[in-house]
Every structure is written in structure tokens, then in C-alpha cells.
Amino acid sequence: MGTLKPDAANYQSLLRHYIAKQDEHSLYGAEQISKHFIKNNVPPEEIVNLHNQALSALYPDLPEHIQHSMKFLLETMISYGIAHQEYHTLREQQSEIKSEIAVAANMQDTLLATTKPVIDGLDIGAVSVPAHQMSGDYHHFVTGEDGSLGIAVADVIGKGIPAALCMSMIKYSMDSLPEGTMRPQSILKKLNRVVERNVDASMFITMFYAQYFPKSGKILYSSAGHEPGFYYNAKENTFEEIKAKGLVLGVNPDTEYRQYERILHQGDMVILLTDGVTECRQGERFIENKEVLDVIATFSHLEAQEMVNKVYKHFERLQDFQLRDDFTLIVLKK
């Protein structure tokens, strides 16, 4: 506040000018002074004080009642001054926390990075976009020593920081599993225990795990309460829901998971997703499953990666560029 002195002279001369001319230019000057003060963290009561001093200087015979009234006004400004200082603190904190979250989101990107494996005779597309900076969706590809391809898709209830924290658990637990030799049902069983032990009961995670064997075209899968994906039958040109029953992760430590299987034929597709895709909302309206399939069908002639990109862009626009939930979509085309 060492800058107040020259400002005081400036204020006084602008005020005198304004009283004499009542011109817009002086009022513009008033605005500029006050913006300058705000920038320098000068609280509003200082302005009132400056005003009082300027008045007294300009009118040495200022009536006493006016002087008293200005002291009263000054008193009301003190609480605004406290609020104003808190405002500055809040701005600083806000920008700190924003950059903190950006760092964390970055870490999460590194953490959840998964490489789309290249597999002969299988075209893979994957897109995963968080609604906020941090994601509560997870997907991961595992190449097994037996030549199989494991695909995990999971969704933590909720979004944002808590979901992201929970998500990292799935990542580390998956890491500690023996490389791709376990079957879907055993993987879910194991992860279920980890989640149950580490996360309180209000939080849970849904997960779909599929394992594909390129040689036989066989796909094994199990679900822990996860949003069902779709199976596209090329021969009959039909989509069908991939039904799989199973309790969400983290509820009961003794849950066993059923395992399903199916054979993929030439041209068939498997579509895995999170509810951020199927529960897209347009305004207040939830879209129908049929609409999702229509959009997918529209782009199904494209390469898998281009296909999921186009589907994502379609729904992003539909939602006014503001995702309400994390969005993950994976397509396997044989």
C-alpha cells in the first residue's frame, strides 16, 4: 500500500475536476483508479478514506455532519474489506488447486496409459475421454503369454478426484496379476477382494473383462455389474446385447463370477463401453440404446479407431461439448 500517496493526489485532482465539470472523462478516471487499486489489493475502505481526505482537502470548511456521515460509511466498508482480502486469497487458492488438478490429471494419463496391441486378424479401436479433468473410467489391454488378448473396461461410481483415486487401485491391482494367464472370472474375483478390502461400502466399481483367443476366435468374458456391451453378427447383420450377470466389485468379498463364451466369425464386432456412452443425455432426455446402435452402425464401415472417434464426436456434439460422464468405447472387429 505504499503506492497510495501519489494515488491520493490523483484521486483528489480527478474528484475536483469531476465536481467542477461532471464529465465522463473524470468518471472513466475513477474507474481506472479503482481497477488499479483492486489489482494492488487495496481494500474498499481505503477508497472511502481517500475520498474523505480529498473532500476535507478540497473543502476545509466541510460541515461536521458530512464528516461524521463519512466516518459511518467507512465503518460499513470494513467487512467488505475483509471479504475483499478473502477474495484475493481465494483467487490464489483457486489457481493453485487448478494447477494441482492438472498435474494429477497428467499423472493419471501416464498411469492409465495402455497400448493397443497389434493382433493379426483383429482391428481394435478405443477412445476414453473424462467428463472432468480426472477420469473414473478405466480400460486396459493385456497381451498374455498364451497369445490371448485381455481387455478390461471399468467404471468407478462417480466422477472426478475420488473416482480417479479409486481407479488407480484397479490399475495397480491389475499390474500385480500374473501376466495374462488368468481367466476373466478369476480376475474379477481377485479384483473384487482388493476393492472390498480397500474401499468403503458406499463406493463401488463395475467391470467387464474379456479375453480373446486369436487362433480359435473364441472370446471369454465376465461382468461385475458393468454396462452391457454389444455383439454384432455380420452374417445376420444384427446387433445384440452382450448379457453377463455378476455383482459389482467391492460389495461381497466372496462373490464368484460367471464366465461366458462365444466365437467371433469374420466381420463380427464386439463393442465394449461404459455408461457414459449409453447414458448420454441430450438436454433433459436420455438417449435410447437403439440410437447408440444406429450411430455405431452408421460408422461401422470405417476402421475401428476411426469408427470410435466418429462415434465419440457425434455424442460430444449432442451433449453440447460438455460430457456429463466419463466416456469409454472400445470396438473389436474381426
Partner: protein, 133 residues
Amino acid sequence: MDLQSCVTIEKEWDIVKARQLGREVAQEAGFGTVDQARIATAISELARNIYLYTNSGKLCFEIIDNVEQKGISMLSIDDGPGIEDISQVMEDGYSTSGGLGAGLPGVKRLVDQFDIQSEKGKGTEIRAVKWAR
């Protein structure tokens, strides 16, 4: 609809001219002293953006007189570089003028309706409406 009055913004002095014109229109529309001051401050901000970031632009004022309410419409049009990320510019704390508590979010706070359209390389159009109470 009343007639529309505009001020072309080229030098800093034009900001004052725009404030003056806007304040007159506001007074005519029946705004009190506080709201006139708010309108002048909003105009400063809009005019300053044109002055600082574009080659040319103008501010136009208009009294809106519906059956239900009376107000002022402020229209800012420029052929500047346009705003690439509108969401970002409308975020608190992200002020191009680098100052505190100002920028377009400040204008939005001072008025009742605020609409912004911008195309990269073509310019920006901002319409702000304030209703007299």
C-alpha cells in the same frame, strides 16, 4: 424500437465517448445512478477489448421497450482475430487484460443477458442487455 446509436472505437478517448453515449441512453431508459455506473463500467470493458485487441470495431446502444420491461441493449462488434476458446475467456480469473475482477466475466456480472459469438479470423459480436428495475 428506438433509434440505434453507435460509437466507433479507435483510440482510448473513444472509450470515454462510448461510456458517455451509453450513459445517456441508460438515463433515457430510466436507469438509476447505480445502474448507470454499472452500464458505464460494462461499456468500458467492451470498448477496451476492441481498443486493445482489434483494428476496428464499434459499440451500439439501443433502448429496448417491451410491454413488460424497459432496458438497454449494448452491442459490441469487431473484425478482430476472434476468440478461439470462448469457455476459457468466460472463466473467472482468465482475463486477457490481466487485471482483476474485470474482463468479459465482469461484463456478464453487470448485465442481465449476455451472448457472445466469435469466429476465428473474422471477429467477435457481443450482445449485453440490462433491464431497468
